[in-house]
Every structure is written in structure tokens, then in C-alpha cells.
């Protein structure tokens, strides 16, 4: 059973501005479940795309059963025997369940799709997942969880020897996830190798045999038996604690000061229930939770991008109704550094000075809305110097910068606006270690100057480095609060316990009943 199916050595993949993969190795053996772990932005999804022929690697070798292969297209990868469930939704909304499942090689006769012959294999794949779905239903009518399962059924259809699952459980209920694990075990018993990517370490330890850990595009642990590692080992490898924990000078926020922002029993249209929190001047409040816990959505609702259905938002003790991010910025001085840098944070095709000064044009504007170019450039240059953004000129487009520098540009616009409350959402995802340090120090200094900061992060080390207290969020509710004592072991234990103590989610089950 120990024959190697797919092996990668020294794989390199470069994107504009980042080396997404920088010498990654991986060995997949038949009949095993292989965990691929790493923080957000460590390169897991990129590696999966290289292994399945979506991206051509810029360096390194791939071998299939000992022979070197070049996967030029996803189709070639499938023919070789590599199947995949990507993180993105990869279904055709208008097609039926059966047609989506058989999309790779639809049963056809003389150029015409044979719909009769389509249902049987589709039903077989669905049955394997214990899924009772009408194969003729268009997938656009299905719930997110059902769509996810259809994607897995689609991967089963191709009968691959290597099956890569990228965060397959992200939108599944525990019951559905268990069913999936059953399928995975059955597949490995038949000699398939399953690569499992997940943020949920408990799942990984329950299911996987071997593990590869990626950090900043490098493999820090390569195809090693999982049994030889503890939970903590793996976490340490993932976050590289030795690198990330920045020593900070002590800072003592005034716990008695009146809160700048207070949420009191807030419920939103997105599903948040009874959320209460307070942020005081000079305090860094962490909002920790797994992907999908509803942290960013909560902030967006506060900023007026979603409806608040119950409860009260108070700024400096006054109840407020914020209608738009514009009002949040100009009337209340709230800045929100988004987690989605490329889509919501920076204007990639615009010069840096515009990216930075967008929030202050209103202040700079004279009669007729005239913005003096010199003042604008000065404001931008000040921040470029202050944050140490490496650019060739203020006219350079933001899209030409590296990830870390883009993130700094995205941050700079809020510093330019002199915000009175800063909400930072995953500030260091996909940035290099040095920038990460710089960010931590910056946030620390800002808090030291009295700025209240609400920090959202899935990076536990970052939380423990920066936050004064950590609110733990799960399933759109605040589940508990932990005062940060700076001790990683104790803190992580307490936070994980809070997440686990929660009631089982009833999210997907009710939708499924439709």
C-alpha cells in the first residue's frame, strides 16, 4: 500500500508582487489521508492549483508514479487521475445537479448529451454521500451546503487516484462533515490518496495520516506522519511562533474610560444574535473566531452595509444609526481596514497617492471641490514615509506593489483620515513576515497614542501578541471573553475551549429540510 502516487519537489509559483510558492515539496502515497496545513495566504490553494494543472509552476518537478509529468490543464490532471474540490464554487448555476456532476465527461451519443444516462452515475455519486437530491434540479436552487456536497460528488464522479479537498467542510454542518469523512475513509480503503485542507485542526487529527505544513510559501514540514506530532507542534509550525511573536513594550489601557464604540444586544439581517461589545480608548479588542464565524459581517453591519434588526450601536455613549461607510468615516471617524485587500481595499489600477488620500479629499478640498495637488502629494508622501512603503514614486499603480506594501497602502488611507476608531480585519494575511512585524508595531503604537482598535484575526498568535482582551465569536454570536495574559499556551487553550463549548449549529439542517 505504500506506493507513491504524486510527488512534488521544489515547486515555485510566482504571481505579480508575491512568491506564492517558494520551494514546496510534497509526497502523496496511496491509501492515505494527507493533511495540507498552513495559515491563510501560506500557499495551500496555490499548491492545489499547481497540482491540478490550473497554474503552471514556475519551477520544480512533479512526478506521477515515479515519472515526471507536466500538467498543462485541469483536464490533463483529471486524465492523469487527480481530482479536486476547489475552495471557490465551481458549479454552473443554470445546469442541473446531474449535469454538473458529469461536467468533466458528460455521457454523450453522437455529440448529443444523453440525459438519461446522466442521472444514474450522478445518483450513484450522491448516494455515496447519502445525499437525496433530485438530479434534475438546477444547482442555483440549492443551499450553500448542498452545493458544496454536489462539488464533492462531482469529484467522486471522475474516480481519481488522488483527490484534493480544499476546505471541504467550511460550509457543512457537523453531521454532513461526518458523512464526508466516512466517504474519505472508504476511498482510502480502495487505495485512493485524499489530500485534506482544513482550518479545523480537530478534523485533521481525527482523519489524517500524514501532514505537510506550509508557511509563507515554503513547506516547513514535509509529508511527515501525523502521529508523530502534537496539536501544538503543528500550530507552532503553521504560525512559526518564533518569527511572529513580536516583543512589545508594555502598554496599559485605561479600563475605566468610557467606551468609544459600544454594541448592545445587536442582531443583524445576516444572522448575528445578541452581540454586545465595547471598545475603549487606547484599547485593542480582539475579535477571534474561525472562518465563517461572522466577524467581518458584523463590522459591515455596523458600517451600514447590512441591516441591524435589533439592539443599539453607541458611539461615545450616544445611540447612532450608521447608514453608510461614508457616514461612519466622516461623522464618526471610523476606519475599516478590510480583509479583502485586492477587491475592497486598494484600487489596483490607480496611483498610490490617490489610494492614500481618498479619505481626506473632503478635508483638502477648497472652493469648487478643488484639491491642491501639492497638499495631496504631501499628505501621501508623509504616510509613505511613516509606514515605510517601498514604492518607486507616488504615481506608481498600487497593483504593482507586493502584498505587504499594498496592505500598507490600504492602511495608510485610514491613518491619513485621522480616524477616531480603527477596525482592522485580518491585517496580516498574505503579507511577508517583516511587514507583519511592522504592522504589529504600528497597531501597538497607535493604541499607545490612545486610538481604540477592534482587531479581527484568525491568527491566534497575532491576537495574543496584540489584543488586550479577546472576544471569541462562533456562529454569529459572541461566545465568551478572555483577558489576554500574553501566555500562548494558556490563552489558546481557553479560547479553543470557548469555541468548542458552543451549541451545535443548526444552520444547515433547517435549510436542508426544504
Amino acid at each position: 500500500m505504500n506506493d507513491v502516487l504524486l510527488e512534488g519537489r521544489e515547486i515555485v509559483k510566482v504571481f505579480p508582487g508575491v512568491r506564492a510558492l517558494d520551494g514546496v515539496g510534497l509526497r502523496l502515497t496511496a491509501g492515505s489521508v494527507h493533511a495540507l496545513l498552513g495559515e491563510n495566504g501560506a500557499g495551500k490553494s496555490t499548491l492545489i492549483k499547481v497540482l491540478t494543472g490550473v497554474h503552471a509552476p514556475d519551477g520544480g518537478r512533479l512526478t506521477w508514479r515515479g515519472e515526471e509529468v507536466r500538467l498543462r490543464s485541469p483536464l490533463e490532471a483529471t486524465r492523469t487521475g487527480i481530482g479536486v474540490v476547489h475552495q471557490e464554487r465551481n458549479l454552473i448555476p443554470d445546469f442541473s445537479v446531474a449535469e454538473n456532476i458529469t461536467l468533466q465527461s458528460p455521457p454523450a451519443r453522437r455529440g448529443f448529451v444523453d440525459r438519461g444516462a446522466m442521472s444514474a452515475p450522478a445518483l450513484r455519486c450522491l448516494a455515496e454521500l447519502d445525499l437525496d437530491l433530485d438530479p434534475l434540479r438546477p444547482v442555483r436552487e440549492l443551499s450553500v451546503a448542498q452545493q458544496q456536497l454536489v462539488e464533492i460528488a462531482k469529484a467522486l464522479y471522475t474516480e481519481s487516484r488522488v483527490l484534493l479537498l480544499d476546505e471541504p467542510t467550511a460550509s457543512l454542518s457537523p453531521r454532513e462533515a461526518d458523512r464526508l469523512f466516512g466517504v474519505v475513509r472508504r476511498l482510502t480503503a480502495r487505495g485512493t490518496c485524499v489530500v485534506f485542507v482544513s482550518h479545523k485542526l480537530e478534523e485533521v487529527f481525527a482523519l489524517c495520516d500524514t501532514v505537510t505544513v506550509l508557511r509563507d510559501g515554503r513547506s516547513v514540514l514535509e509529508s511527515s506522519p501525523l502521529a508523530g506530532h502534537t496539536h501544538d507542534d503543528i500550530v507552532n509550525l503553521m504560525v512559526g511562533r518564533a518569527h511572529t511573536a513580536t516583543e512589545m513594550p508594555p502598554r496599559a489601557p485605561d479600563r475605566t474610560a468610557a467606551p468609544v464604540l459600544a454594541l448592545d444586544g445587536v442582531s443583524t439581517a445576516d444572522g448575528h444574535q445578541d452581540v454586545s461589545l465595547e471598545v475603549r480608548p487606547g484599547e485593542i479588542v480582539g475579535l477571534y473566531g474561525l472562518v465563517g464565524a461572522g466577524r467581518s459581517e458584523l463590522v459591515k453591519a455596523v458600517l451600514g452595509l447590512d441591516r441591524i434588526t435589533a439592539g443599539e450601536v453607541r458611539m461615545h455613549g450616544t445611540p447612532v444609526r450608521i447608514a453608510s461607510p461614508r457616514q461612519a468615516l466622516h461623522d464618526f471617524g471610523i476606519g475599516y481596514l478590510t480583509e479583502n485587500r485586492k477587491e475592497e481595499g486598494v484600487f489596483l489600477e490607480q496611483p498610490i497617492h490617490r489610494n492614500i488620500t481618498v479619505t481626506v479629499w473632503k478635508k483638502l478640498a477648497k472652493a469648487l471641490g478643488y484639491v491642491p495637488a501639492a497638499e495631496e502629494r504631501q499628505a501621501a508622501q508623509d504616510l509613505v514615509d511613516r509606514l515605510g512603503i517601498r514604492i518607486s514614486g507616488l504615481e506608481q499603480n498600487a497593483g504593482e506593489l507586493s502584498g505587504g506594501n499594498q496592505q500598507k497602502v490600504s492602511m495608510a488611507k485610514w491613518l491619513a483620515a485621522d480616524t477616531r476608531l480603527l477596525i482592522v480585519d485580518e491585517p496580516t494575511v498574505g503579507v511577508d513576515v517583516r511587514t507583519k512585524h511592522a504592522f504589529h508595531r504600528l497597531l501597538w503604537e497607535l493604541a499607545g497614542e490612545g486610538l481604540p482598535i477592534l482587531l479581527i484575526s484568525s491568527d491566534l498568535t497575532e491576537m495574543i501578541t496584540l489584543a488586550d482582551r479577546v472576544l471569541v465569536m462562533a456562529d454569529h454570536r459572541i461566545r465568551g471573553e478572555v483577558d489576554n495574559d500574553g501566555d500562548y499556551e494558556r490563552m489558546s487553550g481557553r479560547i479553543i475551549r470557548i469555541i468548542h463549548d458552543r451549541a451545535l449549529p443548526a444552520v444547515t439542517t433547517e435549510r436542508e429540510a426544504e
Binding site: R89, F95, L103, S119, L136, V139, S143
Partner: protein, 358 residues
Amino acid sequence: MITINEYGARTSAALRRFSRSTTTTLLCVTLGGYLALGIASSGEFFQGPSVRTFLQYLATPVLIGLAQMVALCVGQLNLAVGALGGCTACLMGVLMADGGVPAPIAVAAGVLTAMLVGLVTGVFIVATRINGFIVTLGVMTILLGAQYRLAGTRTVDGYSPALKELGRAAPLNVPLVFLTALAVAGLLAVFLYRATAGRRLLAAGGNPLAARLSGISTDRQIVLAHTLSGLLVGVAAVTATASLPGVNRSVGGDWLLPSFAAPIIGGVGLSGGSVAVFGTVLAAFVMRLIDAARAQFSLDPSWVNFLIGLVVLGTVVGGRVHQTHLEKRGKAHGRTPPAPAGRGPTADATLPNAGGGQ
């Protein structure tokens, strides 16, 4: 495995889906409108000659609507529909009248040329990755010039009487050109709903990334869509040449807007992935009905455009309001947001197509 009961349940689900679709609404509107018009004209509208005129001028709108729909289904636009049609019509006319080419060969040459132009357009879009809007705009300009050059200021009418005969022929008062359009629509429907190639086309339009991951080349689908669009325009040009008394440089000049109106009213989205062959045919029907009603009540011809504008606006705005409503309900219902299938609702507010699918 499928018991009768289950089968019945599935059929009824499919029926329910159908009954809520745009096509059904259009069908009702068409039938209702037709009946109302018939009654208003005290039955005259149901009589042979009226039916014949009505259908005679329906063929070309149906075909150009379908040509545009094929481009839309991969998320592209074809601004050259009118110019290509006019140019092809003039080419066929000139070939027959001045070149003395026999009608069948001229027709074949015309259709092939149109198809070839579509092919070249598609290849150009894919090769340069320039936005399809601009490319087809450029092609449209070139074709307008070519059409003018072919026809000049004259009207070419001395071409094959046999072809004109065919164009005017109407067994049982159903014009042959209309039957041609219907047959083309039928073939297209079979292609898009049944043929593997057609399904690939729709897959690439519905979710380009997913299609690519399944081994479908989106580039090839874009080329195919433009080629097919060209072919359909070619057929439209044939029906126009056959049923018009002569061709000149104004043929095709007023095709562009109706070609968009038909699929959009028929329920085809601009972002790609959706087709509605029957819906597009019905929408062309509705637009023709408006025109017929206008003639019936002898109103100013401008009413037609005005009303079509309002119908298009009403269709898309109504559709969007309905969708937003559904999304809101979905949100209140469970906390998982509704399926982000394909593209987000706000994403397509900017540009209908992203060029050569980068």
C-alpha cells in the same frame, strides 16, 4: 430506481419551475395580446392576409435576436449584428444582380462570409483580449464601410426572382421565411440544450472558471459563440434579402437595438450562462405585436420604440427587484447567505462583459 411516484414529483417540480419562468409570462402576454388585437380588429387580425403580413416581418427579428442571444450566452456582445446583416444582404444582392452568380451559390457565399466574419471577430477578441464591445464596434464600423462600398447609394433589386418568390411564398398563409426562422430556432434549441458542444458553450458562459477547471476552453467557446452569431446573422440576411423588394445600404441599420431587446425581454442575462431560445422568439413576437397594434390603431410609429424601451426597462428592473426580494427573504430565513452562484448581484452593474474572459 425511479418509481412512478417519484417521476411524477419530478415532473411537477419541473412544471412548477417552468410556470414561474419569464417564458411563461411572455407566452401569456403574447397570447393575450394577440387575442385582444384580434378582438379589437373585429376578427380581421385572425384572417389569412393579416397573419401572413404579421409573420412575414417576424422572421428577421427572431433571427437577429437569436444571434445576439448566442453572443450574450458566453458573456459577450455583438454590436456588429446590424452591420454584418446589411453587409451580407448587400453582398448577396450584388453577387446575384451584378455578378450573375446563381442564387444558391450567392446565398451560400453570403452565409459563409457572415460566419467567417464572426469567426475572425471571435479569434481577434481571444487573441488580443480586448473588450468584445470595442472589437465588435470596430468590426461594425468596417462592415458599414464595406456595405456602403458594395451597394453605394443605389438599391440593388435586380436579383434572382426565384429567391424573391421563395421569400414571399406562404403555404397556408404561413410565410416560408418565418418557418425558416422557426426551424433555425428549433435547431439552435437542440444545439444549446442537447448537444455537448452547446452545453460547453453554456458552461463557459455560466461559470468560466468552473468550465476551465473541467477542461473546457473558454477561449474556444467565445470564438464558437461569435461564429454561431455570425451564422445566424447570415441566415437573417438571407431572409431579409428574400423578403425585401431590394437591398441597399440602409438594410440592417435598425437591427442592433431590437437584437438586444429580444433576448433581454426574453430573460437572457448579460453576464452569460443563460439562454432562452423560446423566450427570445416570444419576445420578438411581443415586439411585433406592439408594432401590429400600432398599425391597427394607426398611431405614430414612434410609439413602438417608446413602448419597447419601457418594456425592456420594466423587464430588467422588475427582474432585479424580484431577485433582491428573494435574497432578502433568503437572508432572513437562514443565516447562510443565498448561493453566490456565478456572479454577485452587484458585480454586473459595471460592465456587461469582461472582454476575452481573462
